[in-house]
Every structure is written in structure tokens, then in C-alpha cells.
């Protein structure tokens, strides 16, 4: 079958012929209908990509694509919860089911489960078929493939980040989202759906601001040296209950630290070299900073429910699977508005 594959870490991906997948005992084979196109796939192709011991064990070549919506066509011998024909989305797994975090629903912080996932250590969804462990499956609530596909990573990560700050998001308080690309724009939409906060967006690109407005942002500001004063002008001098920083650069982290009110929350999603300095003189008293990597199954279910009920309206740009190379090119050039999704016939 035709697949978009990585020959080795740090080398360019390309279309190649891959064997048809067979399900393991607790796996299903899914006919892929939609697969998300993510910037992290580009990172893995960069010669500068940091490769650790675990990554060296990944089987290569490896089909990319870690966001998959599809239809089950074959069941492994010991699969218990699914039937052929079920429409699914593949997301984060339940972790080790043993450590404190996993037994409390926070498998995103599991100490023991490896990072191996579809397209990240095993064959992913940029192919006509993919084998998926049963524990990663969720019913996709009738959502079409182009809507469901980007939710497990971009959408659920944003939901997980917003939930980290949810306790302080009181009605009317300002909340700032920095960086409104694939993840940040979801954060804007989720904030508008589950809080009554005033949502202010900052992005370095006009496309990002346009996307933030489409997702419901009350205010959208172009990134610049005067952002702190501009935000305070919008709020009448009030600091933000929370800042969700999806850029994570040193300058955006400083902005977040300067704009979060006492006992507010800074949620650092982006990974561009910035770190919040938690201590006196750097943030207001009582401020908590989080680094909520990934998401839990709960986050994906909650987000799909919001979308099914029309409360969050994702913006996606679709490409036929055959045009995946072009899709990654547009993503690398910063031209994609919303999340890019490859669709299969």
C-alpha cells in the first residue's frame, strides 16, 4: 500500500510502498479516512532533531501520521470493545494503569509508559490502513474525518492546557493566549466555549490573528514589543487570570509572567526555549506555572462533545492524501490556516 514514510530520523520523508498491516491480538486495523498533518513530523525530518536512546529503537522506515480518524476493518483475536465498521479516532492511551497519575486519570504524566504512538515509534496513519492498539481508540461521536482527525494532538493538547488553568477562569476576567496556530487557536475556541472570560489573542502572523478571531477571540494583537501595555489598555489595567503560552519563547514567557495576576495560572504549551521563573520578583505571589505536555483520554472526549454540540468550530484545511508533500510544504512556510488534514477516498 502507498504510505508517507520516514526512512530514518533526521532524513526527509517520502511516499513509499509499505506492507499491509496485520492486527496484533489487542489491535485493530483501521481504514484511514483522515490524518492530521503536524509540524512535529517536520521536526523528525530535521537533521538537528535530538535523538535519544529510545528513539534509536524505533523501527525504520516508519509511516508518519499520529492523528487518525478512520473505520475499523479487522479485529485482533483478543479485542473486546470494538466491531468491524466502528468509526473511530485514535488518541492518547491510558498509560500504565498502575502509577499514581494513571490511576487518577492523568496518564499524560505517566512515568512508565513510553512515548511510542502511531507515527511516533510505530507505523502511523499517513497510509490507507494502519494497525492501532485497542486502548488508543475512541468513538468519534459522528464527527466527520476532517474534523475528528486533528483533535487527538492539536485539539486535546489545547483542551488539556485550558483545563490546567480552569480553576481561575472567572467570569469576565481577561485570559491571554499567545501563539494562535494549530494548538493556540483551539485554546481560544475552548476558552470561549467553557468560560465566560475575555479572550485576548497574540500572534506574530496575520493568519494567526484571523484564525483566533474565527475561533472567537475578543481581541487579537500582532506580537510586538508593546504587547504588555496593549493588553493592559484593553483590560483597563486589569492583569490576566491566566496566560496560555503556545509559543514558549523567552520573550513570550516574560510577557506571560508580567501579565498574570496574583494567584493566576501560566500554562506553557510551546517549546521554543522559554521557561517561566517561578519565584519572588519574577511572577506575582501565588502564581502557578504548568507545563502540561500531551493530553488524557478525558480531554479528547470532552473536546469532541463540545464540537459535536457546535460550541467549538475547528478550522481545517484539507488536502487529498496524494498532495501530502504539498501540505507539509505549506505548513513549513507558515501558510496553513488552522490544522492541515489529509483526506482519503
Amino acid at each position: 500500500m502507498k504510505a508517507y514514510r520516514l526512512p530514518a530520523l533526521g532524513t526527509p520523508a517520502a511516499f513509499a510502498d509499505a506492507p499491509e498491516p496485520k492486527p496484533g491480538p489487542t489491535e485493530v486495523v483501521v481504514e484511514v479516512q483522515g490524518a492530521g498533518i503536524c509540524a512535529s513530523d517536520l521536526h523528525m525530518q530535521s537533521p538537528a532533531y535530538p535523538v535519544n536512546e529510545i528513539m534509536r529503537t524505533w523501527p525504520m522506515p516508519m509511516t508518519l501520521g499520529h492523528e487518525v480518524a478512520g473505520r475499523i476493518v479487522e479485529l485482533g483475536s483478543d479485542v473486546v470493545g470494538w466491531e468491524v465498521g466502528d468509526l473511530i479516532v485514535a488518541g492518547a492511551g491510558p498509560g500504565c494503569r498502575t502509577c499514581w497519575q494513571c490511576t487518577h486519570g492523568n496518564s499524560a504524566a505517566c512515568q512508565f509508559a513510553g512515548l511510542q504512538f502511531l507515527g511516533v515509534g510505530r507505523d502511523g496513519g499517513l497510509a490507507s490502513h494502519v494497525a492501532i492498539p485497542e486502548e488508543n481508540l475512541l468513538d468519534r461521536m459522528g464527527l466527520p474525518p476532517e474534523i475528528a482527525a486533528p483533535l487527538p494532538d492539536a485539539g486535546a493538547t489545547a483542551y488539556h492546557a485550558v483545563k490546567a488553568a480552569h480553576g481561575v477562569l472567572n467570569a469576565g476576567e481577561p485570559v491571554l493566549v499567545i501563539g494562535t496556530g494549530g494548538v493556540g487557536s483551539f485554546a481560544v475556541g475552548i476558552l470561549k466555549a467553557i468560560t465566560n472570560c475575555r479572550v485576548i489573542a497574540i500572534d506574530a502572523r496575520d493568519e494567526g490573528l484571523e484564525l483566533a478571531r474565527r475561533m472567537g477571540a475578543d481581541d487579537a494583537l500582532l506580537a510586538g514589543a508593546n504587547n504588555r501595555d496593549e493588553v493592559l489598555e484593553i483590560t483597563g489595567g486589569e492583569m490576566c487570570a491566566a496566560v496560555i503560552d503556545c509559543a514558549g519563547a523567552p520573550v513570550t514567557v516574560d510577557l506571560a509572567s508580567a501579565l498574570t495576576r496574583p494567584s493566576g495560572e501560566i500554562v506553557l504549551v510551546g517549546m521554543s526555549g522559554g521557561a517561566v521563573k517561578v519565584g519572588p520578583g519574577h511572577v506575582q505571589p501565588g502564581v502557578r506555572a504548568h507545563f502540561p505536555f500531551g493530553s488524557n483520554r478525558r480531554d479528547l472526549v470532552d473536546l469532541m462533545t463540545l464540537i459535536r454540540d457546535g460550541k467549538v468550530k475547528p478550522v481545517v484545511e484539507t488536502f487529498p492524501f496524494d498532495d501530502v508533500v504539498e501540505a507539509y510544504g505549506r505548513l513549513a512556510a507558515g501558510e496553513v490556516v488552522g490544522r492541515a488534514v489529509a483526506l482519503f477516498d
Partner: protein, 343 residues
């Protein structure tokens, strides 16, 4: 009556004979049973002045921010406090209407006037005296706890409890907690974590002998700061690190250790002000973790910690002394071993 008076900043306070306090309409008048010497009481007498502390709003002033005693008179506007109640002062002053106040985080009130107005020992005469007047909004009943225990608990115990409360999700029974420091706040935290919750406590201190010398020490393991690093912690607890880290020192070295000792999803609390910080971001070990910088505690925290200390009999050693003997107390470090004054 006798009172410990500060005439000017940076001078030693002196014992003086002063009039009984004036009772304002919103005040209660308290016969002081105990006063717990606070960092501010000492800092006001030191030269140079510690600018990071709250500064006295009036001079001369009777010192004493933290005290316990019996209400003997109530002002005309007092509603929820009666003669005979045994109370402590509940820090901080707070406005009651900003977002932090409305969510039980009143120690982070954003209204600066409310924080300092009519606060005993800060902007009006305090409790290092035989009597003190305090606004009703600043007092809380001690419940069953003795004034001896309640006064230091309202300062150090409160701060310890608040630091735990904000990280409570991770500080679950059976989970590992590192407590950095051997001062009074740290020792309250060890007691609350071990006896109040059922955490397994690892204490990390510069002075192991001093920590062991206390009548009560609730740590399961005590490590010298010089020997404590992320690898030692991981060997001790298995996995990637501990579930919660409470740093009551807050220096560069202690916060660097705090940042490295927490496991994935772990909660770090920066409760010391020694110039350090914990970095949160990509490339740090505690993926899905968090760090919070805390100060003091809320009224709700004070209610809970007084009840908890009463119910569990967790105690932290303190020294007891008279008003006469805290004259020239400018070199005492009450943060280390609480000094309970009986006027």
C-alpha cells in the same frame, strides 16, 4: 498596661507602659494570652531595614502581628464575635471582593489598601502587649487549640498548610514529598504531610543535627542538602522523583534541587524567599508538572490548620518567654524556633 514599643525603624523595641487600646466600632478587644514573635517584629528593629517586609504604617507602634487571646469587649458594629471567644488574628488583610478574595485565595488580595489598613503590629498597635484591639474581619476562633499552640500556628503553621493545600492533589496518602528546610514552617509542613495526610516525607536540610534535635520530627528520611540531588531522590523513591516538593528555603541552590527532584506531573511549591526560582518549561524533568510561588495563607487555610493541629496533636517545638525578655530581640530568628511570648 505593658507593651513592646518601637519608637523608630531600626531601633531596638522597648518595654513601655501605655494606655489600653482604643476600641473602634469594628474592633474586638483581646486580652493577649500568647504572642508569636514574627519576622516583621524583628525586621522593624534591624538596621538596615528589610525593604521586602511590610513596613509599619505608624510610629511609635506596639509590635506583634500574631497573637491569641480572649475577647473581653466588642465594638458597636461587631456581628460575629462575642465576649469570651478565644481568637487568633487571621492574616492577611483582604478586600473580600477581588477575584483572589472571591476564590478563597485572600492572601493574594490585589487591593493594597485592604492588605495593610488597621492591621495590628503593621499599621496599628499589635499584640506584644497585655491587650490588643483588632478588627473583627481579622480574627478567627481557635477552636479547641490552646493559645500556646495557636499563635505560632497562625504564622508558621498557616504558611506550611497553604503551601501544602495548593499542591494537595499531588500530596496524596502514600505519595512522596520532599520538604526543603528545617525552619518552623518546614517542620509544620512535615507534621501535616506525615500525620495529617499520610505522605512519606523526605526532609532536606543544611543542619541535620538541629532537625533531629527537635522533640518532634515527622520526616521518614532526613538528607543533608550537600548530599541531596535528583539521583539520590530517584534511588530513594524509585521512578523519576517525588510527587511534591515544598521549598521553605528558596535559595538558588534549593530551588535548583526542588526543580530536579519532582517526578512527571509533580507539584513544586516555592515558599522561601532566598532569591531562587524554579524554571518551568520544555527540557525540564517534570513534564506535566507545575510550580507555584506562595506567600502566607488564607483565612480558610487558617481555619483548617487550626482544626488539623487540634485533631492530630501535631506539634512543633517553640520556646516560651515573657514580654520583658524579648526586649532587644532584634537578633532572634523566630522563623527557626517560634518564640511564644506570654505578656
Amino acid at each position: 498596661m505593658k507593651a513592646l514599643r518601637l519608637e523608630a525603624l531600626g531601633q531596638a523595641a522597648q518595654l513601655a507602659d501605655v494606655d489600653s487600646p482604643t476600641v473602634r466600632p469594628s474592633d474586638v478587644l483581646i486580652d493577649v494570652a500568647t504572642a508569636s514573635l514574627s519576622a516583621a517584629d524583628v525586621a522593624f528593629q534591624q538596621t538596615p531595614i528589610d525593604e521586602s517586609q511590610a513596613q509599619p504604617g505608624v510610629l511609635p507602634i506596639t509590635l506583634g502581628r500574631y497573637f491569641a487571646g480572649t475577647v473581653v469587649e466588642v465594638g458597636s458594629a461587631v456581628q460575629n464575635c462575642a465576649v469570651g471567644d478565644v481568637v487568633v488574628t487571621a492574616p492577611p488583610g483582604s478586600c473580600g471582593s477581588c477575584h483572589p478574595c472571591l476564590t478563597g485565595m485572600d492572601n493574594y488580595c490585589i487591593n493594597p489598601r485592604a492588605k495593610t489598613r488597621l492591621v495590628p503590629g503593621i499599621s496599628r498597635d499589635g499584640g506584644l502587649a497585655q491587650q490588643v484591639a483588632a478588627p473583627e474581619r481579622l480574627v478567627l476562633s481557635v477552636g479547641g487549640l490552646s493559645p500556646q499552640e495557636a499563635a505560632p500556628a497562625s504564622d508558621f503553621g498557616l504558611a506550611a498548610y497553604h503551601a501544602i493545600r495548593v499542591a494537595r492533589t499531588m500530596l496524596a496518602p502514600g505519595n512522596h514529598a520532599v520538604v526543603i528546610g528545617g525552619n518552623a514552617k518546614a517542620r509544620y509542613a512535615m507534621g501535616i504531610l506525615a500525620e495529617g495526610i499520610g505522605c512519606r516525607v523526605i526532609a532536606v536540610t543544611d543542619d541535620v543535627a538541629a532537625l533531629k534535635s527537635h522533640r518532634t520530627c515527622y520526616a521518614e528520611t532526613i538528607l543533608d542538602s550537600a548530599d541531596a540531588n535528583a539521583e539520590v531522590i530517584r534511588d530513594l523513591v524509585g521512578g523519576w522523583g517525588v510527587d511534591g516538593v515544598l521549598d521553605f528555603v528558596g535559595t538558588e541552590a534549593s530551588s535548583a534541587f526542588a526543580g530536579s527532584a519532582a517526578t512527571q506531573g509533580g507539584a513544586i511549591v516555592v515558599a522561601g524567599t532566598g532569591g531562587g526560582f524554579v524554571p518551568i518549561g520544555a527540557g525540564r524533568l517534570n513534564r506535566n508538572g507545575s510550580a507555584r510561588y506562595v506567600e502566607g495563607g488564607s483565612r480558610g487555610d487558617l481555619r483548617e490548620v487550626l482544626d488539623l493541629l487540634d485533631n492530630t496533636k501535631i506539634t512543633v517545638d517553640h520556646t516560651t518567654t515573657s514580654l520583658d525578655s524579648v526586649v532587644n530581640a532584634k537578633d532572634i530568628d523566630p522563623d527557626d524556633v517560634p518564640v511564644v511570648v506570654i505578656p
